[in-house]
């Protein structure tokens, strides 16, 4: 049976990259950074302005009426839910630092691009970074819903959102590349054993 054309191209591409993996890894890493700056960052701002902001403003419950939804010019990838009693025109970032103000930020930020650059450098022929991207997109979508629940109905959802976007995302973003790296090296107690 003839080899499918796509598989043949994939194999030859892997061979070409395999000859100079560090060179290609570096090129992919630079391309990843460029794509992040040129595509992902504008997409994050668009998401905050055209998806998250209208969604949060559309939540109309007695609890949501206690909040003002705002964005900060200096932090355009974020949306803030400020308690109405505290909304005095000050910078929402400052209010968030003081506590009581919830901050939603668009997914696929630095916590994606840094591990993704590492992954394309170490595994230039493997699209592991797509797994990470998928994780960030799913968590981003879920976290938007969780934030909306916190805004409209259930205060602890803000805390769940915060946990998801901090420790959970931080640990997953760093642990996934680490485990893949260790698996490739066969190092560490969790590294898979090679068949004898």
């Amino acid at each position: 049976m003839p080899e499918p054309a796509l598989a043949r191209h994939r194999t030859s591409a892997a061979q070409v990259i395999g000859r100079y993996p560090r060179l290609w890894g570096t090129l992919f890493m630079v391309a990843m950074l460029a794509a992040y700056i040129g595509l992902v960052r504008p997409a994050r701002l668009w998401t905050a302005e055209h998806v998250a902001l209208p969604l949060f403003e559309a939540v109309e419950t007695p609890r949501a009426a206690q909040y003002v939804i705002e964005r900060a010019p200096e932090r355009p990838d974020a949306v803030y839910a400020i308690p109405r009693a505290r909304a005095d025109g000050r910078d929402p970032r400052q209010l968030a630092r003081e506590g009581g103000t919830a901050e939603w930020s668009a997914p696929v930020g630095v916590l994606f691009v840094l591990p993704a650059m590492f992954l394309v450098f170490v595994f230039p022929t493997r699209p592991f970074w797509l797994v990470l991207l998928g994780y960030h997109l799913v968590v981003g979508a879920v976290s938007m819903g969780v934030f909306a629940v916190g805004l409209g109905w259930f205060e602890p959802a803000f805390q769940l959102y915060l946990f998801t976007r901090t420790y959970l995302t931080e640990s997953v973003s760093l642990v996934v590349p680490l485990l893949l790296y260790l698996a490739a090296k066969g190092a560490g107690p969790l590294a898979p054993t090679r068949p004898a």
Binding site: I17, G18, F121, S171, T193
Partner: protein, 198 residues
């Protein structure tokens, strides 16, 4: 339990245990911090004032007029930074400790590795704060970008490097309990992974 989940747990017992332990530790820390440490304020205040004080000490040879006012470090009049709770590195410290405790290793090695890692992260934060003050003085127009991006990059690089180090030096309390697992991802021959070679 579905067969697929049971099969995964059987063949990746150590990995599953590690992930569950890590999630539990971070959840416990999050609750502890949110319910007690943050409202109490003393731990954050101590860490912030310490980082401010040490940053001042680092800067003084270069900026003789450096002043430290509780959480605020002034390199010169009008050039200062305030170490807020979110900037004192506490979350980075907990992120580091959570992994080291969850990832297999001996407690004897944890006893020296955790303090060493904490010191490395605190030193990183002091260097970051000092650098931010220099940027604020010399290139104030890029302060915001440096504050937002550089800090994260540096923190995560240091934490990642420490995690890799721990995975290699932590040892295993039960070396014979290593579970069989999937074949590791193959790379083209000649690929030698290099940590953060970029």
């Amino acid at each position: 339990m579905p067969d697929a989940a049971r099969s995964f747990l059987d063949t990746h017992r150590a990995l599953s245990l590690f992930l569950l332990k890590m999630a539990a530790i971070y959840a416990a820390w999050f609750v502890l911090y949110d319910l007690w440490l943050l409202p109490d304020g003393r731990l954050d205040a101590w860490l912030s004032t310490s980082v401010a004080s040490w940053t001042g000490a680092v800067l003084r040879p270069f900026y003789p007029g450096t002043l430290v006012d509780v959480r605020t470090v002034w390199a010169k009049p009008g050039i200062g930074i305030r170490i807020e709770n979110g900037c004192n590195g506490l979350s980075a410290l907990s992120l580091f400790i959570g992994f080291v405790v969850a990832y297999p290793g001996t407690w004897a090695r944890r006893a020296w590795f955790i303090p060493m890692g904490l010191a490395a992260i605190v030193l990183t934060n002091i260097a970051r704060c000092a650098l931010l003050l220099v940027v604020s003085d010399k290139w104030p127009e890029i302060f915001g970008e440096v504050h937002a991006l550089h800090a994260l990059f540096v923190f995560y690089l240091v934490i990642f490097a420490l995690w890799v180090l721990w995975a290699n030096v932590g040892g295993s309390p039960k070396p014979d309990a290593r579970p069989p697992s999937a074949t590791p991802p193959a790379e083209p021959s000649g690929t030698r992974p290099v940590l953060a070679g970029a």
